[in-house]
């Protein structure tokens, strides 16, 4: 019998190593896997490269991981926010490396990694600072920039329901990067509100097929009951 569920968040992240590349789902705090991040902080892995849309909000989740100084580099599209003070302080102190990526290129590069593509040509960013020094090509009269896939050793994501084969469904806009990060990492760990019996998820409605998920942890009532 295949059962990808793991007893605890701590057990799920136990093999994340120093220097690992870790994708973390979420747009702001929606979809951020707080319990997995807390477990990662407790676990102690350091020198991490984190891939996320933002660079932490407030004092919890990714912001707490940054505050604990476990992150060497962050790859994101929108670090600066009203409540990104932990990142801001590290950045100004020169204690964190930032790779700034336009949001759609971030998504496309993550998706390219999951799909096994060697690179993509994207029109986004052409002629801007964020394409400086990058190879470009004209295709059918339009200019494109060569961008490489973003791979990761681990992805930490949050979904609503999962089953023991790793099939996932999400909740509202908390879906955001979950499905594509699940595809791009060697080991995807999902925290879910609950693990349902096989067959309980409508096969037509499965958003992330279980092949992309290696471990899942039931967190209990981590999200509000569906509104």
């Amino acid at each position: 019998m295949i059962d990808k569920s793991v007893a605890s968040a701590e057990a799920a992240v136990a093999d994340i190593f120093d220097g690992a590349r870790v994708m973390i789902g979420g747009f702001g705090t929606a979809g951020m896997p707080d319990q997995l991040i807390d477990a990662l902080i407790a676990h102690g892995a350091k020198d991490l490269t984190i891939i996320n849309n933002n660079a932490g909000n407030g004092d919890t989740g990714l912001a707490a991981l940054l505050k604990a100084k476990r992150v060497r580099k962050i790859v994101c599209s929108f670090p600066r926010q009203s409540d990104s003070y932990h990142f801001d302080a590290l950045y100004h102190a020169g204690e964190i490396e930032l790779e700034l990526v336009p949001q759609g290129n971030l998504a496309a590069r993550i998706q390219a990694a999951g799909a096994g593509l060697g690179a993509i040509y994207t029109p986004t960013g052409y002629g801007t600072l964020l394409a400086d020094g990058k190879e470009t090509r004209e295709i059918d009269g339009r200019q494109y920039v060569l961008e490489y896939p973003i791979h990761a050793d681990f992805a930490l994501i949050k979904a609503l329901h999962g089953d023991r084969w790793g099939n996932l469904v999400y909740r509202k806009t908390a879906r955001n990067f979950g499905p594509i990060m699940a595809m791009a990492a060697k080991c995807t760990i999902a925290q879910v509100s609950d693990i349902v019996p096989l067959g309980a998820l409508d096969p037509e409605g499965v958003v992330t097929p279980g092949i992309f998920v290696q471990r899942l942890v039931a967190i209990g009532n981590a999200v509000r009951a569906a509104a």
């Binding site: 964020l130 594509i180 509104a227």
Partner: protein
């Protein structure tokens, strides 16, 4: 002359959004346009974090942390709306499926170059988000901004001095003083507020400006 208020600018933009259009309203001033879309027309608002059919802010106490817009504010989903992941969301832009996006700007060039993500200040933490994807993705890119900075400099310029977001991507600019169409022939004035002349606009902007206003 009577400068348009921000609400009047938003109402003016809303007039150019037809029923059935798929529209992304950028963070900040463009968000106001939603308040002026006619209730009797169905217009699809997209939010790049992953929803189509975005509705207004929820009633107090009804906020759901899993249902937010690109500005991370709580919103609602209209009946018939749907959710999707980030790669699909940006395919909607980059793939040319969005009809209109409305963005704010630091500067727009007379040929449609857009600068709205970074002032270039050395100590500023850069952040780009979806600005570059929106700028080059939507079929039509509208900019909403005050024509002049607080210091009186025109934000519609011959060439942008701030770092660019996208090249030759803005088709129309709505300001508090005039509405401009942009293209290979430069900027054309299509509307002005009462009491303003095209020559005064040319002086304010330092641009030659084509007169495309239609007399009432």
């Amino acid at each position: 002359m009577n400068k348009l208020t921000r609400d009047q600018m938003a109402a003016r933009v809303a007039l150019d959004i037809p029923e059935g259009a798929y529209v992304n309203l950028g963070i900040g001033l463009p968000t106001k346009v939603a308040n002026f879309l006619p209730a009797d027309k169905e217009i699809f608002l997209q939010s790049e974090n992953g929803l189509l059919g975005m509705g207004p802010a929820p009633a107090k106490g009804e906020e759901d942390p899993d249902l937010i817009n690109a500005g991370k504010q709580p919103v609602t989903l209209l009946t018939g709306g749907c959710y999707f992941h980030h790669a699909d969301s940006f395919a909607m832009m980059r793939g040319g499926h969005l009809d209109i996006c409305v963005l704010g700007a630091f500067q727009v060039s007379q040929h449609g170059d857009l600068a709205n993500w970074h002032t270039g200040a050395p100590d500023a933490i850069p952040a780009v988000g979806g600005a570059m994807d929106l700028a080059i993705g939507a079929k039509q890119v509208f900019v909403m901004m005050d024509l002049l900075t607080k210091g009186g400099d025109s934000k519609l310029v011959a060439e942008c001095s701030y770092p660019l977001t996208g090249l030759r991507c803005v088709s129309r600019v709505y300001t508090d003083l005039a509405v401009f169409d942009l293209g290979a022939n430069g900027a054309s004035v299509i509307e002005m507020v009462d009491g303003l002349s095209i020559d005064e606009l040319r002086t304010l902007t330092g641009l030659s400006l084509n007169d495309a206003t239609v007399s009432a």
